[in-house]
Symmetry: C2
């Protein structure tokens, strides 16, 4: 039999041993990526992934395919040279938790699919709210867009989500419902058609999911109006105030502040934005998918001061908390706002259960069937303690600062900003690289050595590709002010400054090799 | 160090062995649930889950808590008596896949976070589309709500999702965008405000996520108009046609057909609905979160005939495909419809990548960071083959039919329907149970023995609770035509008719015990 139960538990044990041994071997080899070019890995996979037939095949043949074809084609986030995205190495405890999550397969939608798990998630949400100081916040719950300062007592709440994009969606959804409710409109019931327009304000560095989610919610991407940022990428309060005035405070549905923009790692001035929101009675959603990790920091916690004043909050534990995907949370300072999305189904969250005080978390969630992702965070916090966990997080910030110094010191690199959390934006720009071709006095070549912006972009993109395809490092490309650049996102606590130094050297080598190749080709063409 | 890499791989191996041994022991004990009442399990968890301190603790102490406090408080879907929800036992291969998914931690949003995984997901989507016969469908892509019969060539596509609710959301989202685009409105850009009203038609048995998602999308729950169903729970075509006429075909944004309603397991007449949609040029979304499993069935495949004519389709592999949560898919017959939700971000899906034919799946997904859930389905299909997989699926349908016969034969049970997929709705209704109290000639008691509808509801609810709390079985309660009833959802291929027989006996025993208790209390009160 194929089904996991007491009859197959021995087989389960055997397979877990075999599979973990294969993974250990993969880890021990310590590669970034062995799959080659997109075309190469596509061909490898094509040969493997279409092997679906009426008759199955032997488990060992399958595991051999995993070992020889799948794993080499995976990016290893365990590598200290994997620094492209908010895509971290994972904690061993996260792997333990995933094994338990998969084997128990609890579903968080109703209590009778996840009895203990339901209470663990609920308590962890309470702990997170406490850590954010939602309950002790000087802000009491306010009546949004109403001309009253009525203060009521409230409890904070939240739910685990599939990630930051879904948490941001929940924030905008509840803000939307609350905004129109203040105008006497039940938008959940009646929809947006026929209603007045509203705007969402966020910085021009906010995550693309804000616009994507506004479109999803029927508000349209055009409802998202961006606020200018300073050189660090943080929202300019003066421009925020200007934009509120421009659109009218009564028409602003929500302000989204970002604690950790994806490229610059910028953190909007949360306290100042919160004051603006308080005064104008506007919902404040804080997207702290990245910066939320600083809740555990000892040395950088002040960067996110003001986070306690959010009305809703996005946290993401599969980023700088080093937990396997998926693991996100949505927190709500006044959990009564969940009421607008309560949807009743007799078989999941019956009113009888409500009366009996049996919690069915589907009431608070956009997903129905849902993983017990909370276990990962709870076990990690329990095992490490907040001190050690915070130190792991801080490590990336420390390394990023050192990395920036290294890059700054090189004449053939341009550093684009001082790191805030732990991304470093820069690009390779060879100085006088025509020296390499001194022997060539050809005028055409001399001209060619002055690289245009477009050529620099192409060169840096090629460098990133070369490093990945040659199993050297995984670094990202992005754009800042329409300038293509390279990005290191340094989450990995085992990434040392020596790793960064080696990667910088490799970037330069790859760059010069590409230029040499370019020069040679030009030379050959002459 | 806590981080998974070559330095901790030995520790990883040790912990995987320890944890899988703990899980094996839990499986071997073969309990349904040992956690007791909601209050009891809440107290157990409270003692455990708040143990988050500055200093961490020993892994073995933590694993002991998992063994003694967490696992007993979990529902074991591995038990052949766990039959409450669409919450299946899992395949051993699903556990292997989860171990690989967690350890490799690929993120499906961009190619350079999941090189091989991206191609595996893409090929599996193609395989699923083929299995649904999307490509060979007689339906060519059509221009929705336009007075033209222009037929163009197209390719099908899709994406893995967190589950059925998200897949349904994608279906409605793309239908919404397409509907308004036909009226010359870019609703993603401009939103719904100021647009004309539209309706979504689905049966009165459709999943609650249709209304929930319509509300999310800004259309309002009121945009969802329900179509009457027959005794089996399947949509009545005559009423569908009536509803289209009532609202005007031009105002119908989408019709949602369900292949496997949550309670009755009913399957709407897909081919007939598709014909209506074709004629009226209305988007057809098929929610086959449950019934989609019959794509692999040998003996019940005809139940979902017509599925190939859907414009969009929800499949869910963490239901009757026995894979661990999360594992869902959204399929699109004409993948060009994805274009309306394309959102560009330079660091994930740059136009340069598009030009280089490097696929970044974030373009097709509502999630950004996303698990490599496709691996579970691919490995399961590869290992089992479609024949054996289909046989596992069919097993639940066979058992449900036998279970219904058993229940029907008992005078103290009321069977509410003939099973379609594999749910069985019934309730315990003792016949002349006053015999138990023959010795009491008291008139008051005699009256009390005639149970009202409300008392029957309460009794059956108590029975379900008793069975769970006493580790006998997990069965669900739901409502059919305002009658509370019990539900068996028989997915587990290891559940034999002898298991069902034992559960039925236990339901009756629990029922009579409750009644005896009730009678005794009444007697004592006299």
């Amino acid at each position: 039999m194929y089904v996991l139960n007491q009859h197959t538990s021995e087989q389960y044990l055997t397979q877990m041993h075999k599979t973990s041994a294969i993974i250990k071997e993969w880890l021990d080899a310590n590669n970034v990526y062995l799959g080659g070019s997109p075309k190469q890995v596509q061909e490898t996979v094509a040969a493997m992934a279409m092997d679906i037939k009426a008759q199955g095949r032997d488990i060992d043949a399958l595991l051999a395919d995993i070992q020889t074809k799948l794993l080499p084609g995976c990016i290893s986030t365990a590598s200290s040279h994997c620094l492209a995205h908010l895509h971290p190495p994972t904690l061993v405890i996260g792997q333990i938790a995933e094994m338990i999550i998969a084997a128990t397969n609890q579903s968080m939608d109703s209590w009778n699919q996840s009895p203990a798990a339901t209470y663990i998630e609920t308590q962890l949400i309470a702990w997170l709210c406490q850590r954010c100081k939602f309950d002790s916040s000087e802000f009491a719950s306010r009546e949004f867009n109403k001309q009253t300062d009525e203060q009521t007592t409230y409890q904070s709440g939240g739910v685990f989500t599939s990630g930051g994009t879904q948490s941001n969606l929940m924030g905008l959804l509840l803000a939307r419902n609350t905004f129109y409710a203040a105008k006497g409109v039940d938008v959940q019931r009646d929809g947006l058609i026929g209603q007045s327009r509203s705007v969402i304000l966020c910085s021009d560095q906010a995550h693309f999911s804000i616009a994507k989610n506004a479109a999803l919610l029927g508000l349209g991407q055009q409802s998202v109006q961006t606020v200018a940022t300073d050189a660090s990428g943080a929202m300019l309060i003066a421009d925020l105030q200007h934009k509120i005035k421009e659109h009218g405070a009564d028409n602003v549905m929500a302000i989204v502040a970002t604690a950790g923009t994806t490229d610059l790692g910028a953190i909007d001035p949360l306290s100042a934005i919160a004051s603006v929101c308080k005064q104008a009675k506007i919902w404040l959603h804080v997207d702290a998918a990245w910066g939320g990790a600083l809740l555990l920091s000892k040395r950088y916690r002040d960067l996110i001061d003001g986070i306690d004043q959010a009305d809703s909050l996005t946290l993401d534990f599969h980023k700088h908390f080093f937990l396997p995907i998926s693991c996100g949370a949505f927190l709500l300072r006044d959990q009564r706002h969940f009421e607008s999305i309560r949807q009743h189904s007799e078989y999941l969250n019956s009113s009888a259960d409500d009366q009996d005080n049996i919690p069915n978390l589907v009431t608070y969630s956009l997903q129905t069937t849902r993983r017990f992702d909370a276990l990962k965070l709870w076990l990690a916090l329990d095992l490490l303690g907040t001190d050690a966990y915070g130190a792991l997080i801080d490590s990336g910030l420390d390394t990023a600062r050192k990395a920036a110094q290294l890059i700054k010191a090189r004449p053939d690199f341009v550093l684009l900003h001082d790191p805030i959390i732990s991304s470093v934006l820069f690009y390779f720009k060879p100085q006088g690289f025509s020296q390499d071709f001194d022997q060539n006095s050809n005028e055409d070549l001399k001209e060619a050595t002055e690289l245009t912006k477009l050529q620099l972009a192409q060169l840096n993109r090629q460098i990133a590709q070369d490093l990945l395809i040659n199993n050297i490092a995984n670094i990202a490309t992005t754009e800042l002010d329409e300038q293509l650049c390279l990005k290191l996102t340094i989450l990995n606590p085992t990434t040392q400054i020596s790793d960064i130094k080696a990667i910088i050297e490799e970037v330069a080598s790859a760059g010069y090799a590409r230029l040499k190749n370019y020069g040679d080709k030009l030379h050959a063409a002459i």
